[in-house]
């Protein structure tokens, strides 16, 4: 069984891209001629732009008769900052239709997850749990962008009972992954128009009402999330690359991220049949500075060597990106790689050492080590084409500001979609939005804004910006800090409240520092030699900690609360006694007569009372 992109598809892809380009040219001409229609066209332009890259053009096929397959891969990449990036990817492909599949029987696909998907009418599901922050400036782009804390978004097949389904889905996922995803509800969910598009095959256009996105930046990721994650794998952690996932080692990193992504992809070029693709990934960034030597090896990183591949896996490989070897650092890989690939992608040449675990499995414990021949000198790191920072400004617990800085290092303007995710307890003032670039005001091409409502929905602000070449664009907005009800404060009230990351989406014209999989690929191997017209990035900025005005939850405060309650309780009866009047009731001589009289005179008595 082999996985490959149809040569036909590539043609199809390029033709689509050319078509999209043609459209764009026309649109751009129109844009120039007709300023009034600008916004409407620009919106279409962006959608076309993103769709042409994401779209419904992923084809993966299983050439054998068996309708499911499992692949496991590990990418090791020494980063210029002295860190080592390890990315595990476990891909399960199942040739069945996601809409009609009942998920009653499955072979490699985890049934627990399948049932959740089937039951909630989910089309695409993306969940990630991340600890730490991906430092784009130093590390370039990751294979998968995830925001700090928990992040979840899903596309549903239709928007009937969608809020109910969403709530129920996140609750089920909370159980499946042992994460606090059950805190996701309408008050912290968004349906952004531009940032997220379906990444897999879609039978009919879906609009953003079928989408829900939420992030829980407070979530702390630990072993209890890893264990259920490993249980979703066909070999569990008994065999294969998953044996390397020892919690003691992988939680000792500078960044670790667990993600589960489910999407339907086309099985053939005509897309008459679809395949469910489940991608389970773990990204880790190790710091080699904390140890005495800069040498690293699989055993040093994960505490154990690799015994064998997972017997159920079709593909079991370890890749090492050796591009930087002999330029910024010098090391020798032990054992020598049997094969070294050269990947040309978007003007970037990468050399990748490939170890096939299937063929090595007889040779006992497998271990890849990098042995440095001379000490590494930390030079100036070249930042990627596009990166962003976000921070809160001002002081005090009354008001402040939010600033997002977008750096464009490319020589041409870049179009980006900026999604600001602002929780309801931080009300923002739209009239204070200022987008400046090199001292000049920048007008967004499109702006979507839905004001938040206390305890009901967050502030949704999405903008399409054209960043001038080699510039720093600054988005700023002023905000207030809300004084919450006393039950709404967490037990550690003085820790502060978190604000989820902003998401910046763009199609990069160059693949410098870019490692992510192409939209039509399912495995890491599909990212080699995968030149496309644009490279989609979805940067997540820092999560922010803000101090809301916090009452003094100390002993005197509690005493005051208690005393007030006691006074309030005492006040009721006292008030009653002092204000109510005693009224004499007529004596009941004849029951029936008195009953009737009572009935008749009731209105009168009421009035008197």
């Amino acid at each position: 069984m082999r996985i490959a992109v149809y040569p036909k598809c590539e043609k199809f892809l390029t033709s689509i891209c050319e078509w999209a380009k043609g459209c764009l040219k026309v649109i751009q001409l129109q844009l120039q001629s007709c300023a009034k229609m600008r916004t409407a066209f620009a919106m279409y332009f962006i959608q076309a732009l993103i769709l042409s890259a994401i779209g419904d053009v992923g084809f993966v096929s299983c050439t054998s008769d068996v309708d499911d397959a499992f692949n496991e891969e590990l990418m090791l990449k020494p980063l210029p900052s002295g860190h080592v990036y390890a990315h595990f990817q476990f891909t399960t492909l199942w040739r069945t239709d996601i809409e009609t599949e009942t998920f009653q029987h499955s072979r490699l696909f985890p049934r627990g997850l399948g049932e959740i998907i089937g039951r909630h009418n989910v089309r695409e599901l993306h969940v990630s749990l991340t600890e730490g922050l991906w430092r784009y400036e130093k590390w370039g782009y990751p294979l998968q962008d995830t925001g700090s804390g928990a992040e979840v978004y899903a596309w549903f097949n239709d928007d009937r009972r969608i809020d109910e389904n969403w709530k129920s889905l996140t609750n089920a996922l909370a159980g499946l992954l042992c994460a606090s995803l059950n805190f996701v509800d309408v008050s912290n969910s968004l349906s952004p128009d531009f940032t997220f598009r379906p990444s897999g095959a879609i039978p009919r256009p879906l609009n953003s009402s079928c989408l829900r996105y939420s992030s829980l930046p407070r979530e702390i990721v630990c072993t209890e999330n890893l264990t259920p994650f490993k249980k979703l794998l066909p070999c569990d952690s008994k065999k294969g690359l998953a044996t390397l996932l020892n919690s003691a080692y992988i939680h000792n990193t500078n960044y670790h991220s667990i993600a589960v992504d489910v999407r339907p992809v086309c099985t053939n070029a005509a897309c008459t049949q679809t395949t469910i693709e489940l991608r389970q990934t773990i990204s880790l960034v190790y710091d080699t500075m904390t140890t005495d030597s800069q040498d690293w090896s699989v055993r040093k990183l994960f505490g154990i060597g690799l015994r064998s591949a997972c017997p159920l896996a079709t593909l079991s490989r370890v890749y090492v990106d050796v591009t930087d070897n002999e330029t910024s650092e010098t090391y020798r890989l032990v054992p020598e790689p049997p094969e070294t690939l050269i990947s040309l992608r978007g003007g970037q040449e990468n050399r990748i050492a490939v170890y096939d675990i299937k063929s090595l499995s007889n040779a006992g414990m497998f271990n890849v080590a990098a042995v440095h021949s001379k000490a590494k000198i930390y030079g100036v790191e070249i930042p990627p084409v596009l990166f962003a920072n976000r921070y809160v400004v001002g002081y005090g617990q009354e008001r402040g500001g939010l600033v997002t800085k977008l750096h464009n290092n490319y020589w041409k303007p870049l179009d980006v979609v900026l999604l600001e995710n602002i929780p309801w307890y931080i009300p923002v003032y739209t009239h204070t939005i200022r987008i400046t670039c090199q001292g000049k005001l920048l007008k967004p091409l499109i702006k979507r804004y839905v004001p938040g409502r206390e305890r009901e929905r967050p502030y949704y602000l999405e903008m399409v910006l054209r960043l001038p070449p080699r510039s720093v664009t600054e988005f700023s907005i002023e905000l207030d800090y809300l004084f919450l009800k006393w039950q709404e404060y967490p037990p550690d009230a003085n820790h502060g409240f978190y604000m989820g990351p902003a998401i910046i989406t763009s199609l990069l014209p160059t693949a410098r520092n870019y490692t992510a999989l192409p939209q039509d690929g399912s495995t890491i191997s599909s990212s080699f030699n995968a030149s496309r017209d644009g490279y989609l990035v979805q940067l997540r900025t820092e999560i922010l900690l803000v101090s809301l005005p916090t009452p003094d939850f100390s002993m005197p405060y509690n005493v005051i609360c208690l005393a007030c309650t006691a006074v309030a309780l005492a006040f009721g009866p006292l008030h009653n006694i002092t204000t109510k009047r005693l009224v004499l009731k007529p004596s009941k001589k004849n029951k029936l007569v008195s009953y009737i009289r009572e009935k008749l005179s009731k209105t009168k008595v009421d009035k008197i009372e």
């Binding site: 804390g149 990193t253 904390t290 930390y378 820092e542 916090t550 100390s554």
Partner: protein
């Protein structure tokens, strides 16, 4: 008003008591308040410090700091660099050192447009961020050192920069950090730190366009706490823990306790207000020793000027202290950089443990020694007693006024009374208004003074002090020459207003800067209580009551304080040398006060000029007014 003008009001027992014993009551309250406050330093009246925040886990970790050798090397290199550039900060060297540790390193430029002349000063800070492996850069701790060039008049801080670098090297190898650590080396003392903080929070604390802080490239979330190091020697005899911040703000007591405990754990001699703890057996002597320490804190806090770089952090909700290490003088043990490094490590690791911002323990306290404290609950009542006298005085004067008007206007008709009252009220309102307008005008006057001063080629401090002196003289002469005649009622009402304003102002100040309120209350309350509006039948000596009020003019008071300070600093000067020094020092003190308010937002000058000066003026008017007798039918 309804309650107070009630005709039956004069008959209450309390009111009668107040009317009868008013003078004695005020005196008793004042004396009790002062004695109570003074006795707070007595060991039985204050408490031992304790840790309120459990998450700090002070001193529970095994110290691992072992970079003392590294610190020595950094120190030698730095001294060589400082010799090469005696006036500048060795930026390239600092940047290179941080970069070699593989930390994120940035520089920060700032400009000061000197507000009282057309001068510009620039500065540059160097800072570096250690990204914590255990978090997403949401929280940070600061370790800062002010850089002092070889030509600086202050004691050197080179050893603390060496320690900072060595500590950064040590931290880089640890993987337990949950908060980013920002290492900041600032230029121009507090100005650099203030500019850095303003840039970090992107705001301006002083006047617009004075301190141009610019923007920072790298940030690390919300800053939880800061430690500022000022080690003057590589081997130190004692560490002084400095707490007083801008406008008298103090760091959380837990942080101060933490620093004290960590120093004690390493066996380093620790001092507060440069006074080591002494433990004489005689309780009275102990009280005196602690009282002097406490008063030293009060006098430092009252000025509202920060004693170190830590002082500018407090405004931003960041708890900060300065550890100042002095070389050994006299006997006692000596601590090496190894011990200080371990103290810093313990401090930062404790702060790293924090789950919430500092919110427990005390933010308002006085320290009579390093291990004892006087909380706000203990020191507020004495001050309240001192101030209460003013309210009682105001009340009794008001009641007397009611009595006298009742007696006089008993027979006249209501319309006439209302008319005369209206007249008196408008007159009083005018007096209150113009005094306050003058206060606000004085607040913005320094710029005008310097503008005029430049035309006469005067130095800034000369033109400002000359301007203020002229203004004061005009005030004295003006009030003595114009409209000195007031009825007894007008003078009394003005007196009541002045009393209430003074009392309210003192209470408000005490909430922000206790020490300032205390000093002001102790000085002004007795003078305010002894004022008696003239009726016309006083003796000739009554005018002597004006004399204390001349001395109590804020400008005169400031000069007096400077004179005392100068006398203590230079005790062996001759009278002429002393006078010259005194005048020079007074001029500088005034200009510093004004500059501080413009750059840092220190409100000592604003409060003095906007509130204290108008109140003083009203009192002065009351004291100097000449009575006119009412023309009765």
């Amino acid at each position: 008003m309804g309650l107070l003008t009630d005709p039956r009001a004069g008959n209450g027992a309390v009111i009668k008591f107040v009317m009868k014993w008013e003078k004695l009551l005020c005196l008793t309250l004042y004396v009790t308040g002062v004695i109570w406050f003074v006795s707070l330093a007595y060991p039985d009246f204050n408490d031992n410090t304790y840790f309120s925040e459990n998450a700090l886990l002070p001193g529970l970790v095994t110290n691992e700091f072992n970079e003392d050798g590294g610190a020595k090397r950094f120190h030698d290199e730095l001294l060589a660099e400082m010799k090469k550039y005696p006036d500048d900060m060795p930026y390239p060297w600092l940047l290179a050192k941080f970069r070699q540790l593989n930390l994120d390193v940035y520089t920060h430029n700032f400009t000061l447009n000197y507000p009282l002349s057309q001068q510009k000063f620039t500065g540059q800070n160097v800072y570096s961020i250690l990204r914590a492996p255990r978090s997403a850069s949401t929280e940070a701790i600061i370790l800062s050192v002010p850089y002092r060039s070889a030509s600086s008049i202050h004691l050197t801080t080179a050893p603390s920069i060496a320690l900072l670098l060595a500590f950064a090297k040590f931290c880089r190898k640890q993987n337990y950090w949950a908060k980013d650590i920002i290492f900041v080396v600032t230029e121009h003392e507090q100005l650099g730190m203030q500019a850095w903080l303003e840039a970090y929070h992107r705001c301006t604390c002083g006047q617009d366009g004075v301190l141009i802080a610019g923007d920072l490239v790298g940030r690390a979330g919300s800053i939880q706490a800061a430690i500022n190091l000022e080690m003057h020697s590589f081997k130190i005899g004692s560490i002084d823990i400095k707490v007083e911040g801008l406008n008298g703000q103090l760091p959380n007591l837990d942080l101060v306790n933490l620093a004290n405990k960590m120093c004690a754990k390493e066996g380093i001699r620790r001092t507060f207000q440069r006074r080591a703890d002494s433990n004489p057996k005689d309780k009275i002597r102990k009280w005196w020793y602690q009282f002097v320490t406490m008063m030293s804190m009060v006098s430092t806090q009252a000025t509202g000027v920060p004693t170190g770089n830590h002082g500018v952090f407090h405004r931003f909700g960041i708890e900060a202290i300065t550890l100042e290490g002095f070389a050994k003088s006299g006997s006692g043990t000596e601590s090496t950089i190894y011990n200080i490094g371990r103290v810093v490590e313990s401090l930062i690791r404790s702060l790293n443990n924090l789950l919430e911002r500092f919110h427990q323990s005390f933010f308002f306290y006085l320290l009579p020694s390093t291990d004892r404290y006087i909380s706000i609950g203990l020191y507020m009542p004495p001050l309240a007693l001192i101030i209460a006298g003013l309210f009682i005085k105001a009340f009794s004067v008001w009641l007397k006024l009611q009595e006298s008007t009742e007696k006089k206007d008993g027979e006249s008709d209501a319309v006439k009374q209302a008319k005369s009252e209206e007249l008196v009220l408008s007159h009083i309102a005018w007096e209150v208004l113009w005094t306050h307008i003058l206060g606000v005008a004085t607040l913005s006057a320094p710029r005008l003074f310097t503008y005029i001063g430049i035309k006469f080629h005067l130095a800034t401090e000369n033109s400002v002090s000359l301007g203020l002196l002229l203004l004061t003289i005009v005030m004295f002469i003006g009030t003595l020459c114009f409209e000195r005649y007031r009825t007894y009622e007008t003078a009394s009402l003005l007196y009541v207003i002045a009393l209430i304003e003074l009392a309210t102002m003192l209470l408000c100040i005490s909430m922000h800067n206790f020490s300032l309120a205390l000093v002001a209350a102790v000085v002004y309350v007795p003078a305010a209580l002894t004022v008696i509006p003239k009726k016309g039948n006083e003796s000739r000596f009554h005018n002597l009551r004006c004399i204390p009020w001349i001395l109590l003019h804020p400008l005169c008071l400031a000069c007096t304080v400077v004179a005392v300070y100068t006398h203590f600093t230079f005790p062996d000067y001759t009278i002429i040398a002393f006078a010259l020094k005194w005048i020079q020092a007074s001029k500088q003190a005034i200009v510093f006060g004004i500059i501080d308010s413009m750059v840092y937002g220190n409100w000592l000058y604003s409060v003095t000029v906007c509130v204290l000066l108008p109140t003083w003026l009203i009192f002065w008017i009351v004291v100097t007014s000449k009575p006119i007798l009412r023309i009765s039918k």
